[in-house]
Symmetry: C2
Subunit: 204 residues, 2 copies
Amino acid sequence: MINYPLGIKKERSRVHPAQAKSSCNPVEFGKRGMSFESDINATNEYYLAHNIAVVHKKPTPVQIVHVEYPKRSRAKITEAYFREASTTDYSGVYQGHYIDFEAKETSQKQSFPLKNFHKHQIEHMKSVLKQDGIAFVLLHFSERQETYYLSSSFLIKFFEEKHGLKSIPLAVIQEQGILLPQATIPRIPFIDIIHSQLGGDSHS
Amino acid sequence: MINYPLGIKKERSRVHPAQAKSSCNPVEFGKRGMSFESDINATNEYYLAHNIAVVHKKPTPVQIVHVEYPKRSRAKITEAYFREASTTDYSGVYQGHYIDFEAKETSQKQSFPLKNFHKHQIEHMKSVLKQDGIAFVLLHFSERQETYYLSSSFLIKFFEEKHGLKSIPLAVIQEQGILLPQATIPRIPFIDIIHSQLGGDSHS
């Protein structure tokens, strides 16, 4: 099953990321998703501009079937399909350390559905951890306006041991994860958490 | 100017990577490029399978303009265009260290054209180096059947200081870079070089 990436909706509806910031006003479902994604992208831009970290979202994987090469014009892809991502969406570097994460959102209030993560993404997280990479997920509860940092090592354990459950209860995320502070700039300050987990001073 | 990624040709002509291995036999130009790319991909698969490193090629960036959602069928992209990559093609992790590289090929024999690298790729390499990431390029001379490892720090310096030159002379690459050994498995053993540069025992 292919998850249509939120970035596509953005391009189709031509909503500028600045217009799609999260707020307390009711927003359309599609825009809520975009808002979380654009908040992360804005955070990454902030980190890059301030030499704090280099993190990029990987392009949406697309299987290209047919391309036309019109004269005096750029190549046009006329048939293509979304492919399932084989890795996580975000990767980068912070002070030499490899960072790897997936960002997901739910409108549920009391638990986070596991179907947001594919088996091969879990496998990818395992491989990254074996190489001592920093692997985690950012879980956004849109109704609660809360974002949690959860280590991939815990997610993998839960995914494999609790396979009877279809979602992670919020209470478990609150116990095992870290609630990100409500911040303005950057919006999703995940580097603060990595920094303190690496033994640096906590920024909070 | 958009560089049409070699991966596209592969998908269009449906050549299996295993059929496209480099050899001493004369091959079509298109297939030469694919061969180098598929050699790198095969190397990355080898590293992944043997828990040596986790390195992936980023998907080709595509700007999606129109998508059709037929009933009882998967979404079909009917209008899209190639976008210029804002980062390098490959990134990953080796023993906790962030790895970032670009792989390029030339049919020239005595120099490597600088036009293979875009200004924003050079900027990306600078950002990665500021974060103590391991950044380099793999330069493949198809006619010579030689691949060189060249640090991004040298490439950046050359790019900025020697902007009168349109290419890096082979002699400079031979002096500043490292010739990769002709290997069978994996084909492009770049991790050996990183390993020895990090202070580990050289595998050569």
